[in-house]
């Protein structure tokens, strides 16, 4: 079936609506650009507002949830269960003085929050977030959707570097230097994780990727999922990879000098990242809006996103952070290798599938995918355990403590 955009919440259908409107008012063909513009503005308006609201409630959820993990209460004063807390936060931040350090590079300093927020918002455009009246709902069905995501997320590293460099603070520079090094490194495992998805789905369009998941890709290639999750956790700089902020080391990292509304925007971008990442992970590995029929696809999508977000929160509230060189080592020594190995594995299995004639309509049959899942799970667990134990035994075995000969509490001679 051809993806037909649902109702008017996609760029194409909005454009049509505006075209008809303009014709009705009486302007001619020459105002076609106006329809495009209006459609674009409407889409941006929709995206920004929905995402900002979602982020606001996500911050409440995150604070609440981490508080529960830490056996505390969390914000519970503003509104029922503290649900109005994000608005209080934003109000406070807006009322704060918007300071710019004297020595700061003002244009760079001012642009950095926007540069950080924009790409995060843009990713949401290509996510097929559900089915609506039996039609797939998405805002824009780019046929290079996944490539768009890879391209757009790379802007993050520049934005963080802008923020750190522009504020002319040593902590901020240290944080943004770490950020630049880390984000660029983790692009590669992320791309490798995505590549393995592309091999199986055979398309760059997000809708096609969802449709080809007759068995969810997390089951088919857990190693790819692991690589992608680790890399995207690092991309959005959360524990255990939160070196960019590292509040116990750098104070606040790249956003040390920010205050007021600029900080609010940085904060927004930072907390929007988990939502967007969860959406991408859901699309690529968890079968997007697929699910049982008694709920519409959108709800399944939201549910899966929620689970991903919860797991990310769980990690965040449990694990300490790695050191910067360990993080870089993890990217280049572990994830890079695992990613390549995963691609090799998936490609080999795909070639075998072609040999055994298991491909229909450009995607694999369900039976073959299930066999792949069994094999890949076994291989993944074996590889990760072997790696962990080889590395661990070398580094972490400790000798039995023996008392130093330099002291003795009156038990020996004398």
């Amino acid at each position: 079936m051809n993806p037909t955009p649902a109702l008017f919440i996609s760029f194409e259908s909005l454009e049509k609506v505006f075209e008809t409107l303009i014709e009705l008012i009486g302007f001619g063909e020459s105002f076609g650009w106006l329809a495009t513009l209006l459609a674009g503005i409407s889409i941006s308006f929709l995206i920004i507002n929905v995402m900002v609201m979602a982020t606001a409630f996500y911050t409440w959820f995150e604070r609440r949830m981490i508080a529960r993990f830490q056996v505390r209460r969390g914000p519970n004063r503003n509104g029922p269960f503290g649900i109005l807390q994000p608005f209080a936060d934003v109000l406070k931040l807006i009322m704060k003085e918007d300071t710019i350090p004297d020595e700061a590079d003002k244009p760079v300093f001012t642009l950095a929050p926007i540069a950080l927020l924009a790409p995060t918002l843009m990713i949401m455009i290509v996510i097929p977030f559900g089915t609506f009246l039996n039609k797939e709902a998405f805002l824009s069905n780019l046929n290079i959707g996944i490539l768009f995501i890879i391209g757009v997320t790379s802007v993050n590293s520049i934005a963080i570097f802008m923020a750190g460099w522009g504020s002319r603070n040593k902590y901020a520079i240290l944080g943004s230097m770490r950020g630049a090094a880390m984000l660029i490194s983790y692009e590669i495992p992320m791309a490798l994780g995505i590549t393995s998805v592309l091999i199986l789905s055979g398309s760059l369009a997000m809708t096609e990727i969802v449709r080809s998941q007759s068995v969810w890709f997390i089951l088919v290639m857990p190693m790819g999922f692991f690589v992608f999750m680790a890399a995207s956790t690092a991309e959005m700089s959360r524990t255990p990879f939160d070196q960019i902020e590292a509040e116990s080391e750098l104070g606040s990292g790249y956003n040390t000098e920010y205050s007021g509304i600029k900080f609010a925007v940085l904060f927004l971008a930072e907390f929007m990242a988990p939502i967007v990442t969860a959406a991408v992970v859901t699309t690529l590995f968890l079968g997007g809006s697929q699910g049982f029929d008694f709920f519409p696809g959108g709800i399944w999508f939201a549910l899966k996103m929620f689970i991903v977000i919860f797991v990310l929160l769980w990690f965040r509230s449990t694990w300490p952070r790695l050191r910067i060189d360990q993080i870089m080592g993890f990217a280049w020594k572990t994830l890079f290798g695992l990613g390549l190995f995963n691609i090799f594995l998936v490609a080999a299995e795909f070639t075998l599938a072609r040999e055994f004639n298991q491909i229909h309509d450009g995607s694999l049959t369900t039976d073959y995918m299930l066999i792949m899942a069994a094999v890949n799970w076994f291989i993944t667990i074996a590889v990760i355990l072997i790696m962990a134990n080889v590395v661990g035994r070398k580094k972490y075995t400790r000798p039995e403590p023996t008392p130093s000969p330099l002291a003795n509490m009156g038990m020996g001679e004398n």
Binding site: N408, G410, G412
Partner: protein
Amino acid sequence: MTKIITGEEISKSIESTLANAVVASDETAMWVSPETIHEVCETLKDPDGLDYSFLTAISAVDYIEYFEIVYHLTSLRNNCSCIIKVKTSGRENPEVQSVSDIWQAADLQEREIWDLMGIKFEGHPNLKRILLWEGFNGHPLRKDFIG
């Protein structure tokens, strides 16, 4: 139980190597002249000899006419402790040899004594004020300090 070595005992073992270092000694402590404290401490620390490897504390006391610096030493291997004292001559520019090259532990404590009591430690690599700021007037733990 940590054995407390009296001043007489320790002075006996010191006098065999350093003849005229010890000024006086009683059952609590041994007094050493400020010029020889470095040598005495070297002898005391000698791992083959008395083996006072651990410098517990250095304290300074202002006795109006003179300052007294008290070294509490512990031998972790023999589990015994002793007290060495040094009397400075006079209140003006009191000076004692630093032992920070013998025990690293003396480093911060001597700086603290210089800061609060105003006793100079000759040979200390970094004798600056530590608890108070540079440019503070006077040394507050002296009895004649009016703050």
